[in-house]
């Protein structure tokens, strides 16, 4: 099962790339995918998670073809 992952702002700096396509197992949550991507490194406090352009919590289960995004608290306006 393939998903598309995006990183923004200091999370992109941390990961070292802005996006990637990855293979995940069925039933994996956003948090489990973070651990997969980072080899289990700590999740930044207050990290925000979106799936298909909607906020979700870190226990959200991903589906095939989803667009998952990790980013820090927003600072626009």
């Amino acid at each position: 099962m393939k998903i598309y992952v995006k990183y923004f702002a200091n999370i992109r700096d941390l990961i070292g790339k802005d996006s990637e396509r990855i293979d995940i197992g069925k039933g994996m949550t956003a948090k489990e995918i973070w651990n997969l991507i980072t080899n289990g490194s700590k999740m930044p406090q207050n990290i925000l998670v979106a799936v298909n352009h909607e906020y979700v919590n870190i226990e959200h289960v991903l589906k095939d073809g989803d667009e998952l995004a990790f980013f820090p608290p927003v600072t626009g306006g």
């Binding site: 995006k6 923004f8 702002a9 200091n10 700096d13 941390l14 948090k31 700590k42 999740m43 930044p44 406090q45 207050n46 990290i47 925000l48 979106a50 352009h53 909607e54 906020y55 995004a69 980013f71 820090p72 608290p73 927003v74 600072t75 626009g76 306006g77």
Partner: protein, 152 residues
Amino acid sequence: MKIEIIKEQFDPWEMLVDYKKNQLQNDAKIGASSIFLGTMRDFNDDKDIKSMELEHYPGMTEKYLTKLVDDSIQKFKIIDGLVIHRVGLLKPTDPIVLVATWSEHRDNAFNATREIMESLKSEAPFWKKESTNTGFKWVKPKGQSEDVVDES
């Protein structure tokens, strides 16, 4: 309704006049216009800011703002609403965000513009990176502690 993410410097008053003239209906029903303009300062947390890079999440940002203004039209019974937000490289005094709402009575427009700004500041996916004498730094939200703390 209009939502626009704009890469170049913009003139907020020109955009307001243009929108009002060409797109806003029921002019003579409007008794109140509440407008907020956020502009870039040359200081933050006592540091001098030279320039700022504003990043967004293309697709999600527009979707978030569209729903925000749509919801405000319903909730506050306003006639219409507009949000313009700058991205890219900004210099001090540049407009960052323009929010405008129109209603029959002032209470509705005042409350709608305020709530749109508060939601935008706390939830719309934009990120600021400031350039100072000592280099680049991602801006932290007010009252936010350092990141990379385990929450697992």
